[in-house]
Amino acid sequence: MRLNNKGFSVLEIVVVLAALAIVAVVLGQLSVSFLGAVASGELQLRANAISAETIEALKIIKADDWNNLSGLSVNTAYYLTYSTITNKWSVAVSDPGKIDGIFSRSFTVKSVNRDGVTGQIVFSGGSPDSKTLLVEANVDWVYKSANKNFKLTTYLTNF
């Protein structure tokens, strides 16, 4: 029997290696983006928890004394601090820094107008209701040099 296998030429091997490299890069990118999606899901969950915490903290601050919130300037960023000594939340004017080194938390209060006749909350017209505030809890973080934000809003009332 006459053998005719000359093996691979160097050129063939280089071509195969190049193709393999492309496949490797594509697969690598795929797994990186997959991992990225999972990691960003984790941050999303944590941001979600922080936002919910902000709203609950504002509720207990409000329950303590409505003036704690109604005395704040509207449309201005405020911050929250928790004292582990008194076990109480309080409103801070300056940013206490990032939570876990990742998340920036702030909140704003907005005034609410109500229709004079129906008493319903209106976005234009009406007159300001001193017993209702719209609070907006903000959580900002950076993931892979992209700014991410999670926002929760709720109405808080003094009745």
Binding site: L17, E42, A63
Partner: protein, 182 residues
Amino acid sequence: MFQVSSFKFHDKKGFSIIEAVIYSALLAVLILVLSQLTLSAITSYRTARIKEDLIISSGRVLENFLRESRNASKVYLPTTVFDNDLGELSLATSFQPLDKTEPETYTDIYLAGGQVWIKRENELSQPLTGSNLEVTQFKLLRSVTANNLEGLRMQFSVKSKVKPSETLFLTAFVMLKGGYIQ
């Protein structure tokens, strides 16, 4: 001419030493790339699975903590452990919020054996976190306002038991709504 063997090589020249070296070098590169690729694929799959597990378990703890606490009328202090990584929370919830003659039901959420459990009255304990994870912190702090409204702060930290080691840390705060009618 002198012949060692009667075997004839026909036209085959075989490899030169240079060719052999190049081929083995390329093969080595090939094997290296392929094995790295397989390894990184396995690692990222495992990492992703663990992270998913962490997210699901943490989400369940968060959700149950918030729901049970929000509905509760008060924290039952005798069996509650505050300010400890091995925390235990007992909540008393009224069946009928406005009917003070109705008895209350008790729900416990606690950390034992690396897992967070929920135990409702007359039920068996149910785990909220997976057995492949270890909860290292379930710490509770109690906040009481001047008018006796209760709030609860939870610090929760969970890690995977197996490699690659991943951790997730959460904090949550909730106000007890049932407390309004007390």
